[in-house]
Structure formats: C-alpha cells, structure tokens
C-alpha cells in the first residue's frame, strides 16, 4: 500500500520539488513523518487526519509512514499539508493514481478540510514548470498567482474534497482551471504632481530615477521628505515582465502579496528605524526569510530617520547596495535573496531638526549635532550619489506655487534616458549610470572643454575625493542623458555638483 505525490518546499525564494511517499502498513494507528521535516511540517501530522475526515474520506487506521525526499533537505512551510494528505489517501487507494504524477500539489489544510491561502505559490509553480510537470493544484486564492507561469496548467481548489474529486475524474464538484487573469493596474494613487513646491527636490528625484541613483534627503521635520520618497516609484521605469515575476515571487514567499496576482507597481518599502538586522536584511530562525531589502527588490527602500537605524543593520546594507543581492547565513544553510533597490534615505539636518531653517533656531549642542552628522557619513553615504536638501517651505513660498508635472510624463523622460543608457552599456551587464564602475564613468562622461575647466575648479574648491569625483561624473552623465546630450556640458556638470554629497571634511567644518 504505497502512494507518491509531488510537493514543493521553499528554500529562500526558490521552490524545490519534494517527493512525498506514504506507506500504510501493519501496526498501531499512527502517522510517522521522516525526511527532515521542519517544525511547521511536523505540525502537519496533527492537521492532516482531521482534514481528511472532514472531507468525508476515510483515514487508514493503521501505521502510516510518510517520507519526504530528498531526505537531506530541510522542509519548511505549510504548503506540504496537501501532498501529505494526498499521499496517504493514494496509499489507501482513495482514488486512481494516473493524474497524480502529472501535477505538483501545494496548500495548507485547515482542520475542516479547506485549502488556505499559502505563501510562495508562484515559486511552487515555477519549480513545477522547471521539473517538467504539466500543472499544479493549489488553493483557489493563490491560483491567479500560479497562472503567471506560462504553459502550466493551474487547478485552483477550495477544499481537499474538490482535489480528490478532480483526481477521481468526477467533473461536477471539480475545481476551477485558472488561466492568467492579471489584476488591473494599481489604482492611480500617489503622483508627483501632488507635491507642492519643492521643484528642486522633484527635479533631483527625476535625475535619481533616470540614472538609478541612491538619494539622501536632508531636511527639517515636515519638509515633505516622506511624501517625496513615496512618489519615486511612480516615476521609475515600468517593471518589465521578468522583473514583475521576480517581485511577485519574492512577495509571495514572504506572504505579503495580498490580493495581487502579478505585482505591477514597483515596491516601496519603508521599514521603521527600530527594525532588526534580520528584519531589514533577511533571516529569522530556521530557514532564512527575505528581509525588507529583498521586498524592495526592483523598487524603493526608504529609510526615514536613517541616523536612528541600528549601526549593524545599516552596515549590512553595504552588500545589497554593491551586489544587488543579500546572502543570509543561518544554521540551516545560507541563502542568497535578490535585493536590487533604489535607496532613499532621509535625515534631519541635526538632532533637533532645524539647523539651517531661517525661521526657527537650532537648539542642538554642537557635540551632539556633530556626532549626528558623523552618523550620516561613513560607508552608507559613500554609496549615495545624490544628496538633496529639502527646505521647510514658508506659507508665502508655498503660495503661488503651481502644481508640478504629473508622474507619467516625468516617467516618459526617465524611460527615454534609461533606453539611451541601455544602448551605451549594451553587453556589459550594466543597465544604468549609477552601476557603472569608476573608470568607465570617467570615460563615458565625455566632458567638453568648459566642463573640464569647471570640474577642475570644483575638485579644488570642494576637495572632492576620488569617489566623490566619480559620483559627480555619474550624475552629470545622467543629467546629460535626460537632456539627450552626447557630451556632458557645463550646465549638466554644475547641476550634478549641486547634488554632491558633503564630504567628511565638510561635515567637520560645518558649524
């Protein structure tokens, strides 16, 4: 009496096929699970029998052994409930076995026998497709997500009974076959046009979006830093289908997908400054889970009050900012999560927040203000190309400000300039100016004579370091790309200089 079903377990955000075998033999009634089940899979022992009985099916009152193969891979997640139940039912001959081999099964079971929405279904579907299976059987709620994988038959079921009916070939109470029905575009929510005033900041965001540059916004409380940051995803280029699938897979594994089948808007993640390194970078006990940096993959990671974040959490951002991925190591193994995001950090100019404000005095002790500024420098700020001061506007400055340009038309310019960059860097694995290495950036800048002269003076005046120099060149290249210019001119370079992050030397000299 033997049954065998294909399930999928998650390692990081990748699915791995698992063969679930059941053997029903002599002995006292018991369910024994072997093959390195994690805690949540061990739980299935107790869940599966009531679920089967609620579905009106018979649980074999004999000794049942379920083995999860490969046995050296630790299995986690609730998605193995359904394959375990089916393997036992197959072993006891509850339905014919023909269809079993063509599908992978995943889904969490309730004691009542319903299939609960389960995280990571897109990864399950992708894994089934790579394993050469014809289709997947998943909870009805997750079916649209699985249907994103083209060429895969997707069966969505509400209950275990429906799955059994499908395997028995009886059509009447059978589950639904789902084809891709992508959710409508996200409701037009945030738009850059809603930001009143702050023309310089809006322009800087456009440059950041065009070149893929990270941004540091410095400004008093209430200046509108968060409002601006939230609107950066709306002017970034639209997600390509591959990017959208990657984002969806990530959000699906993390269980934050919500109603969406395919994520079409670039993610915006804004973790609070109390977040732990594991929460920010990924981790957790047992198998690592993706952190905020990975949930922001292909989107924007916004760190408000960046100086208040834990030092170790910020230090950990270095790797994803460099490599576009984060490697999390735990006892159970190490896993790489993709994490290519645009970083937007925001900070007050000083602890009280009002340094440089013309209408309100700063009340900070100089030593504290100095310590605060130094927290903003260091390895993280080294990877930020654009530094932006966001002033708190007075009522008279706000008055008479017309609404700004709407996001779609800004995005059109951004996409045009990205296209120019893609052509320039074709075949190098780099797609935007921000990710170009220093020597290449220097070569591609193509400064005209007047710009060369300006750059020389700027290097002296601002004591630009080698890295600071490269950052200015990259940003000026982006500004020239936005203007459709081949060579970087004086105006492009001068604008880039205005986004120059303060060097450590300047930080010390200020105040």
């Amino acid at each position: 009496m033997y049954g065998r079903v294909t399930g999928v377990t998650l390692v990081g955000i990748q699915g791995h096929p698992v063969v679930v075998e059941a053997s029903v033999g002599r002995g006292l009634p018991a369910l024994c699970l072997t093959g390195l089940p994690g805690a949540s899979v061990q739980d299935a022992r107790e869940r599966v029998r009531p679920a089967v009985e609620s579905a009106g099916l018979e649980w074999p009152l004999r000794r049942v052994v379920v083995n999860l193969s490969p046995v050296d891979l630790r299995k986690d997640g609730p998605g193995l409930d359904l394959p375990i139940a089916l393997s036992v039912l197959a072993a006891s001959g509850a339905f014919p076995k023909e269809k079993l081999d063509r599908f992978a099964f995943a889904g969490e079971l309730s004691l009542e026998g319903t299939l609960m929405p389960t995280p990571g279904i897109l990864a399950v579907a992708l894994s089934a497709w790579h394993a050469g299976l014809a289709g997947v059987v998943v909870p009805r709620a997750n079916a649209p997500e699985a249907a994103l994988v083209e060429g895969l038959e997707v069966i969505g079921a509400n209950t275990l009974a429906e799955v059994v009916a499908f395997l028995r070939g009886s059509a009447e109470s059978g589950p639904v076959v789902v084809t891709e029905s992508e959710r409508a575009d996200p409701p037009a929510g945030a738009d850059l046009a809603e930001v009143r005033g702050q023309a310089q900041a809006r322009r800087a965001l456009e440059v950041a979006a065009a070149g893929g540059h990270n941004v540091l916004m410095v400004g008093s409380p209430g200046a509108g830093k968060t409002m601006l940051a939230r609107r950066l995803p709306t002017i970034l280029p639209s997600l390509s289908r591959e990017e959208a699938l990657e984002v969806t897979q990530m959000h699906s594994v993390a269980g934050v997908l919500g109603e969406a089948a395919l994520v079409k808007a670039r993610p915006f993640r804004a973790p609070h400054h109390t977040v732990s390194p594991a929460g920010l970078l990924g981790g957790g006990s047992g198998l690592p889970r993706p952190g905020e940096v990975s949930l922001a993959h292909h989107g924007v990671l916004f760190l408000d009050e960046v100086a208040e974040f834990r030092r170790d959490a910020l230090e950990g951002l270095r790797q994803p900012l460099e490599d576009g991925r984060v490697v999390v190591t735990r006892a159970a193994g190490s896993i790489a999560f993709p994490a290519r995001f645009t970083l937007v950090a925001a900070a007050n100019p000083c602890p009280c927040g009002f340094e440089g404000d013309p209408r309100r005095p700063c009340r900070c002790l100089p030593a504290r203000a100095q310590a605060y500024r130094q927290k903003l420098s260091g390895p993280l700020v080294d990877r930020i190309d654009i530094r932006l001061t966001v002033p708190r506007l007075s009522p008279s400055e706000l008055l008479g400000e017309s609404d700004g340009e709407a996001s779609p038309s800004v995005r059109a310019r951004v996409e045009e300039s990205r296209e120019r960059q893609r052509r320039r860097y074709a075949g190098t694995g780099v797609t935007c100016n921000a990710r170009v290495a220093g020597p290449r950036a220097r070569r591609e800048a193509r400064l005209d004579a007047a710009a060369e002269d300006l750059l020389t003076r700027a290097v002296e005046r601002y004591e630009l370091t080698g890295r600071g120099f490269d950052r200015v060149l990259k940003v000026s290249r982006t500004i020239a790309d936005l203007a459709g210019a081949e060579a970087v001119g004086v105006a492009h370079l001068a604008e880039a200089l205005s986004y120059r992050p303060a060097s450590d030397a300047e930080l010390v000299r200020v105040g």
């Binding site: 023309a199 310089q200 100089p366 001061t389 002033p391 400055e397 700027a458 205005s498």
Partner: protein, 375 residues
C-alpha cells in the same frame, strides 16, 4: 595697537603702589589667582586694605577674606610649581605696573590682578577692537565676522574675541587670513585649557600670530560661570565693541553691558528682521548702537580710513544670466523662485547658482541660496 591714531583710554583705577613688585608679590599672585572663592573684586578690596599682593595673601590665610577652600588652596600651592606649569605651556604672568599690562583693563571696576599670556607681548597688540556674537552663528554671520576680522587686521587693528565657536572663531580666523594679522583670544578657562576642544588648532595659530589671554592659571577648567567674567576682559581690551548676531538672552548682551559700562562705543551688524539671531544687533541699533555693514564702515567711524562699505555688492565679470540670477537673491531664496521670476526651469537655474557658488559669490543654505559677502 600699531596704529598711532587710536589712543588708549587712560585708566581710572590704580593698584596700590608696588602691588605686584618683587618676586614675593609675584609668587603671592601665582597663588591668589588660583583661588576659586576669590572674585577679582574681592582682590581689589583686599589690596585697598592690605597693600601689596603678599599682604593680600597673608590676609586670606588669616581668614580675613576668601573661603576655607581658598586657604586649603594657599596651603597646598607652591608658587614654584605654578611657575613650572606656566613654563610648560609657554605662558607667562603679566602683572599691573608693567609695560605689558593693558591699560584698558584699569577702566574696569574689577581689573584682573594678573593676566596669563601666551604669544606676542600684549602691549604690541592692545588695545584692539572687540568682536563678539552668537556661538551658533549662521553661515552668513560667520562670513561677516571673517570679513570684518580680515578687514581690521589688514588695517593693523587687533581683533579681540573669545575663541568660541561661531562668530568668535570666525573673527579670529579672518584676522589670521592677513599676513601678520594680530588677534587676541581671551579664554574663560585656565591659560593651558583649549576650549572648545575643537578650536585647539585655531588657538595654536592665534598664539603664533597674536596672543592668548586668561586671568586663570593653568588647570582651571572651562565652566560657563566664568564666561561672563571673561567677557568683561574682552570688552576692556578693545577701544570699541562690534556685535554680529546674537539671540535674545545670549552672553553677547553681557559683553555689550560691560562695553557700555566702560564707555566703549558699541557697533552692530544688522541681520534679517525675521532671524532669531538678529534680535540682539537689531535691538542694539534701535537703542542707539551704530550700524555698520562691515570693516570699512567701522574703520571710517573710528577715523582710520575714508572708504565706507558702499558698492561692495557689485561683482565684476558675470554673464548676463548670472547677473539676473544674482539679482533675485535677496535673502535665502528657493531656486524655483528664481526660476519663476526669470521664466526659466529649475534645471536651468541650479547650474547657474552652482557656478556662482564655485566663484564664492553665493552659497547653498538648507535648500535655498543666498549671497556671500565679498572678501
């Protein structure tokens, strides 16, 4: 003061004959100046009753003045040791009755019984012009202070200030920009204590080009309660006092009161009416202080030069766009405001502003741009 056209004020106070004469009196002063419980005024009163410094010290030890802590200090202090620590920090003691003791101090009701000095002899530097202001000065205020210090030093006038952060430090810096520029820093701590710590480099340069002065012997820590007393020395060391920026209730007003008490003229540099840092200078101008725009105005008023500060905002060699952008900067201005007035875009205006910043004509301040002071 090297400029002979400024005459030092003759003192009203005089120490008893032979107050600090001879090694015994000087040793007594080395001990007396370290007494925390003995105010300068108390020393003056003791000197009136007991004559010279040795007499004052004996009186304190006998319990006729000072506190028990002072008597413990007297018992535990060896003048030779104080002399050694002075030598170790290249400082010397300047006492009344000598050439170096600044006559301006004698205008005070409580002149210092001795001054500790590092650097150039004070009689070559003083009297000068005192320049004070807020410790948390704006970058504009620091520019003004720097330009003023530079202008005064270029005319051979010593800049006297307190070596604090902000305006004080900037005025010293300005004076040091001039080759051989004289400047005097008056400390509120022991002569060997660099406070604030981050101004240690500045103090070293002041010592090399001018002098550092304190009425406290080595080792006395910087404490806020000593700063008002220090301010009276700043006021007394100058023939005039200039105030650049000060918020209501700041120590700047104390220096101003001392200057008025000494009969020194007070000058103030105005700032925007909506800035909290303008409160003190604007109030002083309302109350009759003379408004100056920079060093030239001050030199004119002191009778040392004939120029005045008119026309200092004109800048040569600008393009027409740069001229137009610059003309829009009345106070800290948003780039989009400039763009709107000139019917340009922000992306047009920011590069122009940046190039003006590179030339040192404007400066970015908290997302806005403002004009710098020339020089």
């Amino acid at each position: 003061m090297r400029n002979s056209s400024v005459s030092a004020e003759t003192g009203r106070f005089s120490w008893p004959q032979g107050f600090a004469e001879g090694p015994a009196n000087r040793d007594a002063l080395l001990v007396l100046t370290g007494m925390q419980g003995l105010t300068p005024r108390a020393v003056v009163e003791l000197s009136e009753r007991f004559g010279d410094a040795s007499g004052c010290l004996v009186a304190v030890v006998a319990g006729r003045g000072g506190s028990d802590a002072d008597r413990r200090h007297a018992a535990g202090t060896d003048p030779r040791h104080v002399r050694a620590t002075l030598e170790a920090c290249r400082a010397r003691m300047v006492v009344p009755g000598t050439q170096e003791y600044p006559p301006g101090m004698l205008a005070l009701p409580d002149p210092p019984a001795a001054l500790f000095v590092r650097g150039t002899p004070l009689d070559q530097l003083l009297p000068g012009v005192a320049v004070v202001g807020s410790r948390s000065g704006s970058s504009l205020g620091r520019d003004i202070a720097r330009a003023l210090g530079r202008g005064l030093a270029a005319s051979g006038i010593t800049v006297v200030s307190g070596a604090a952060r902000g305006i004080d430090g900037a005025s010293h810096e300005g004076a040091l920009l001039v080759e051989g520029g004289g400047t005097v820093a008056v400390l509120g701590s022991g002569i060997d204590v660099a406070y604030p710590q981050r101004n240690a480099g500045l103090l070293a340069r002041i010592e090399a080009s001018g002098a550092i002065v304190s009425e406290y012997p080595p080792g006395v820590p910087a404490e806020p309660r000593r700063f008002p007393a220090r301010n009276r020395l700043i006021a007394a060391a100058g023939i005039a006092l200039v105030i650049i920026e000060g918020a209501a209730g700041s120590g700047t007003l104390i220096t101003c009161d001392h200057a008025l008490g000494l009969g020194r003229p007070v000058y103030a540099v105005p700032g925007p009416v909506n800035s909290p840092l303008s409160e003190v200078p604007l109030k002083l101008i309302r109350d009759g202080a003379t408004m100056i725009r920079g060093a030239d105005d001050l030199l004119l008023d002191l009778g040392l030069a004939g120029e005045g500060s008119d026309g200092q905002l004109a800048i040569a060699g600008l393009t027409s766009v740069e001229e137009a952008v610059l003309a829009q900067l009345a106070g800290p201005t948003l780039p989009e405001h400039v763009a709107r007035e000139l019917e340009l875009t922000v992306a047009d205006v920011v590069p122009v502003l940046m190039q003006l910043e590179l030339r040192g004509v404007v400066r970015a301040a908290g997302g806005r741009y403002e004009r710098c002071l020339p020089g």
